[in-house]
Assembly symmetry: C2
Homo-oligomer: 270 residues x 2
DNA sequence: CTTGCATCCTAACATTCATCAACTCGGACA
DNA sequence: TGTCCGAGTTGATGAATGTTAGGATGCAAG
């Protein structure tokens, strides 16, 4: 490795404390703020202030979740939708003793919204690291949707964003090697965190082990380690215990062929 | 290869002519039948007869499309949604002179429904083989959705099915090698065609070249060829000029680890 | 401070797949 | 009938990745 001390210094000692995370505050009440992260990815005025408050008022059973806790089980009949307030979660499919990770959720994501219309989900949702969630009963969704077409559109749209992220994963799996896939995952996470004001330009803090990264990329843990090592050697980024310390974001995005177009981010300048 | 003549005979001379494809007929008018394939994947009574007729009445500009015709362009502002009536289509993402195929559409699929709420789409939709399409203006969707929450649910649900298929692709790309991926693709196609009564148990006829299969699996065309050869050697299936001639479907599904659970097929026995 | 355990890291060898090159096959068409 | 061209096929070589094994590291519990 070339000049490890320099890399380490520049990557691991950001001038801004990684814990100091800017949080957007456009909500009125505490409960409303919980739905803000979700609404932050929708176009302005997609949902009236009244509609947003109604949606927020449906949130129930806010609670802390533990690392690796299964929040929603494959096949199980669902009666409520779970919203991730803090932390991360995986969508995983287990098969033949193997675990595939087919998606990552960030705060503001509904974890099993598709279970509302499909009745059950086709995969498990597992908490990654400690976090917080809240729930909305499907019954409440049903009655609210009938009187508020706007809400239906907002929730539908959020499902479409999930699908767009899935397509990006498919493309990356089909065309890029492991180091690029890992870089792409962190580019995507950073962009999604930015959309809700949770990003820190100097570090992407996650609870992901190299085993987790391997199962996101469809490679062995040994090879995920090699891929992490290559990103380090190339001085693009350092990844240590789940935290991604970027060198030059522009260089990383270019290397990973990351184009945030598919995230349909809405401008929040006004 | 073992006993090629026997394989060839059993695979290539099905007792039922591959062109004889059963088509379900539960619609009243010709135009209504066009929406049947779409509705066939929704639960019974998800949409009232009245609602289904309204939706069908919105279909405009039915037309034939040519092989490789781009039906919907990435980034372009969309004003209508395209429904595939006959034939196949790809979702493709081009990048660095490379083409990734991230999804396949069958008759009854909306090709760019996500463009309705997102305004544009994140990939190109290209016809595979000759086919037929019809369109619905976004404006018409908007007015109909406000008065019919059921329709919104049905369309939203179809978006969720797309996402479930995407997740299955991600899992297959992450965990299975090329021969299994190819087998899985045809298992999925067969299952989706069955859902609209378009399947033939003796052949899955598609216009896909081995180049297309390669771009669906994220492998080179040469390797796709070897994967096809392996399926042939294993006497699981023969693939010739896009047509998949299955040996024993049960053995194929087992080999590909195909579990149709994620397609959320509805029973159509009643 | 010691121990235990999960994680990270490395080495060696096997397999899968990419790449390049050449050749075959079969249908379209003049 | 002959030519052409896209598609399919095969072989050789190297890169990417899997598998197995083992060692290093670092936090946490006692």
């Amino acid at each position: 490795m070339v000049a490890p001390s320099i890399i380490t210094r520049s990557f691991r000692s950001p001038s801004i404390d990684p814990e100091t995370i800017a949080t957007q505050d456009s909500g009125d009440s505490r409960i409303a703020r919980h739905i803000d992260a979700f609404l932050a990815r929708q176009p302005h005025h997609a949902l009236s202030k009244n509609g947003a408050e109604k949606l927020a008022s449906l949130l129930r059973d806010e609670r802390a979740v533990e690392d690796r806790e299964t929040l929603s089980h494959r096949g199980e009949t669902l009666t409520q939708a779970v919203l991730l307030l803090e932390g991360f979660a995986f969508r995983t499919i287990k098969r033949d003793e193997q675990r595939a990770i087919v998606g990552i959720s960030v705060p503001g994501d509904f974890l099993d919204l598709h279970g509302f219309l499909l009745g059950r989900i086709d995969h498990d949702v597992v908490a990654a690291g400690a976090g917080r969630v809240a729930c909305i009963d499907h019954d409440q969704f049903n009655s609210l949707l009938d009187e508020s077409p706007d809400l239906a559109r907002v929730l539908w749209r959020s499902s479409l964003l999930d699908a767009a992220v899935h397509r990006s994963w498919i493309q990356t799996l089909e065309k890029h090697d492991a180091p690029r896939r890992i870089a792409h995952i962190f580019c995507e996470l950073q962009a999604r965190l930015e959309m809700t004001g949770r990003a820190n330009p100097h570090a992407v803090r996650t609870p992901f082990t190299q085993f987790d990264l391997a199962d996101m990329c469809g490679v062995s843990a040994v090879h995920a380690n090699r891929a992490v090592g290559k990103l380090r050697e190339m001085e693009l980024a350092d990844i240590r215990r789940g935290t991604f310390y970027p060198g030059d974001w522009e260089a990383i995005r270019n290397y990973a062929r990351f184009d945030p177009d598919y995230l349909f981010a809405v401008s929040r300048t006004n």
